[in-house]
């Protein structure tokens, strides 16, 4: 299991557009992925769940990946939160 923390770098936070991209990315993994903000944890394959966390710019979240491709999933997730998110 891999857990990584990220600060949300886009001003609007996890709004619909980046959240959609994230769900699409995650669907390519075999690992189970989830997203944690504060004491709430949700599965990452559901856009509804991600949006319901109402994640704002500057907030910190954790991503938890568990499964056979968790290492490569972590690399892709890392690229999403550190690079792509700023442009979405």
């Amino acid at each position: 299991m891999i857990t990584k923390d990220y600060i949300i770098t886009s001003a609007q936070g996890m709004h619909a557009r980046p959240a959609t991209q994230l769900v699409k990315l995650v669907k390519g993994f075999k690992s189970a992925t989830s997203l944690k903000k504060g004491d709430k944890t949700v599965k990452l394959n559901s856009l509804l769940n991600i949006l319901s966390l109402s994640i704002k710019g500057g907030e910190t979240i954790s991503v938890i990946m568990d499964g056979e491709d968790e290492v490569s999933a972590a690399v892709i997730i890392d690229d999403f939160f550190t690079k792509q998110l700023k442009e979405l």
Partner: protein, 570 residues
């Protein structure tokens, strides 16, 4: 009547009123396992059909969808496919023996209520998206067919209680010239789509909107949010003219928006915007601004009872820095005094407030307040490309003192282990004649200058900007003012520091070539002025600008300067 203007532009035409029937539950209780399986299957098939419908919209070349539209449709695909929504619907069918129709209505209502209760405007606006996808699936569950096929006449203005994202995306722009809705918000997808398509739109008009009848004559102003129903001749002619000039401006914007501001002979200029809060940044990006040349911080201090503390200031700056999306942002420290007062901060009544206790003079005097602001700005610098600018500098001592306090602020943050950008650039406003004359001295102390032409003009010409009797003397084209500006630019360049301008002159089309010829490389102005100034830069050369500057600097009066500049800009 009035709503919120969410997509600028004027629409003039006839009303087409759309009223929707809310989906109703049927209250049927499923009797056995066979019915339960059938209802789940009915839901799953409806999902497949709803997805096919979105695919059809995506592939409809007649709709001329842009990237924003596609992104919204892709979000809808994910929501229709959402495993959590399916899980909730299936649970209601299996455990509560509800029909697919009732389960879907209840799940949708639950999600809509959840998002409507959120403390974030953007998230509240998402409830409309969930209602939209709920309705879309329900349409197939009940096989009510496609209600989107409406026949519009040319110059139609759609009047609706609410428009879903899919309603908006499928509007035929050859026929529909604008829309107004009873509900909605600035961040609803209908508003975002309207803006990206350049379709004038007003939302949140309230119940009064639905008193409009089919075929009523309507004018709507997508900037101010005004909606006129069967207006008189004077309003019609006023708005016809407004509409024409807006279209012309929009044309210019479209032509230049994504082009860099480079002259015909290859001189690159940076066009930035002046802002007062984070929300202004949307306009900056829309108008092709390359960043923020002046972020006034006064708004944060006004209309309240006490000074904002460091955390509150930090949040205010950070929000803007994040919204700048990595583009440069120059934050000016507080510029109160003069004509700007704070109810909770006792400023003495002065005979000459513009020559009095204001801006950096207050900051240096009240070090406790100043250091709080500097620490808040420094903390925000960790989130983007931030520079700090001091206003009203008249001598080198003030710069050194301000920098000394800035270093103190940095040390306090270092000791506390708080992140900030240690290399944050420091600059000054050049708006006092002594600063302009001694630009060579001051240039050694800072990373950049920003010329504030409004105060520079007032101080150089000894003209009170607020005194209506002498407004004719307030004249930035006075050769005295022009010489000061030229000196600042030349000295800045000689000392290899960056020189920009954030006063009104930067947005005056009459002054653009002159300033370019003087060697100014950065213009900062209100966002809406950027396209017009960029248009001038793109269509001229630096060589011409230099000639213009030479001519102007040899002239003896502002009348001659203005007459000449008018002649060449036509």
């Amino acid at each position: 009547m009035k709503g919120i203007g969410v997509s600028p532009g004027i629409a003039i035409g006839r009303a087409f009123v759309i009223k929707k029937n809310a989906p109703a539950t049927n209250g049927i209780v499923l009797k056995n396992q066979v019915e339960i399986v059938a209802e789940i299957e009915r839901f799953d098939i409806s999902v497949v059909n709803a997805l096919a419908e979105i695919d059809a919209i995506k592939n409809n070349s007649q709709l001329m969808l842009n990237d924003d539209d596609i992104a919204i449709l892709e979000t809808q695909v994910e929501l229709i496919n959402d495993p959590q929504i399916r899980e909730d619907v299936v649970a209601k069918i299996e455990e509560e023996k509800k029909t697919a129709n009732d389960a879907m209505i209840e799940v949708t209502a639950g999600i809509v209520a959840l998002f409507e209760s959120m403390d974030d405007e953007y998230m509240r606006a998402r409830s409309a998206d969930f209602q939209d996808i709920g309705n879309r699936i329900l349409k197939y569950i009940n096989r009510t067919g496609d209600t989107n096929n409406r026949s519009f006449e040319p110059d139609t203005i759609v009047i609706a209680d609410d428009l879903t994202p899919s309603d908006t995306i499928t509007l035929d722009l050859n026929l529909v010239t604008g829309f107004a809705t009873q509900a909605g918000s600035r961040t609803s997808h209908a508003a975002i789509i309207a803006k990206s398509k350049g379709l004038p739109a007003v939302v949140a008009c309230g119940d009064e909107l639905m008193t409009i009848n089919h075929n009523d004559f309507i004018i709507l102003d997508g900037l101010s949010g005004s909606v006129y129903v069967n207006p008189g001749e004077d309003i019609i002619s006023r708005y016809s003219a407004k509409s024409a000039s807006f279209r012309q401006q929009a044309e210019v914007l479209k032509m230049v928006k994504d082009k860099p501001a480079i002259t015909a002979d290859g001189k690159q200029v940076t066009l930035l915007a002046n802002i007062s809060n984070a929300d202004d940044l949307a306009m900056v990006h829309d108008n092709g601004g390359e960043g923020v040349g002046l972020f006034r911080t006064e708004m944060l201090f006004m209309d309240r009872d006490t000074f904002p503390d460091e955390d509150e200031q930090f949040e205010f700056y950070k929000k803007a820095v994040l919204k700048a999306k990595g583009k440069p942002i120059v934050i000016r420290t507080i510029d109160i005094g003069g004509d700007k007062h704070l109810s909770y901060f006792n400023l003495p009544t002065e005979l000459n407030p513009f020559l009095g206790y204001r801006a950096i003079r207050i900051s240096l005097d009240q070090e406790g307040l100043f250091i709080v602001q500097l620490k808040a700005i420094l903390r925000a610098s960790a989130f983007g490309s931030v520079s700090i600018m001091f206003p009203m500098i008249s001598n080198v001592k003030e710069i050194r003192e301000a920098k000394f306090i800035l270093n103190k602020a940095k040390n306090e943050l270092l000791e506390a282990g708080v992140a900030f950008n240690n290399d944050v650039k420091v600059g000054i406003m050049v708006e006092i004649p002594s600063a302009a004359v001694t630009a060579d001295i001051l240039a050694k102390e800072v990373d950049f200058f920003s010329i504030g032409t409004n105060d520079l003009c007032q101080y150089t010409l000894a003209v009170d900007r607020m005194n209506e009797k002498i407004t004719h003397l307030y004249d930035p084209f006075n050769p005295g003012v022009l010489r000061l500006i030229l000196n600042v630019i030349e000295q800045g360049r000689a000392h290899n520091i960056h020189v920009g301008m954030c006063g009104e002159m930067a947005s005056d089309p009459l002054a653009t070539l002159l300033l370019l010829g003087m060697g100014l490389e950065e213009f900062s102005m209100s966002a809406v002025s950027i396209p017009a100034i960029k248009n001038i830069i793109i269509n001229n050369s630096e060589a011409t600008a230099k000639q213009v500057c030479q001519q102007v600097m040899a002239m003896d009066s502002s009348e001659n300067v203005i007459a000449y500049l008018k002649e060449i800009t036509q």
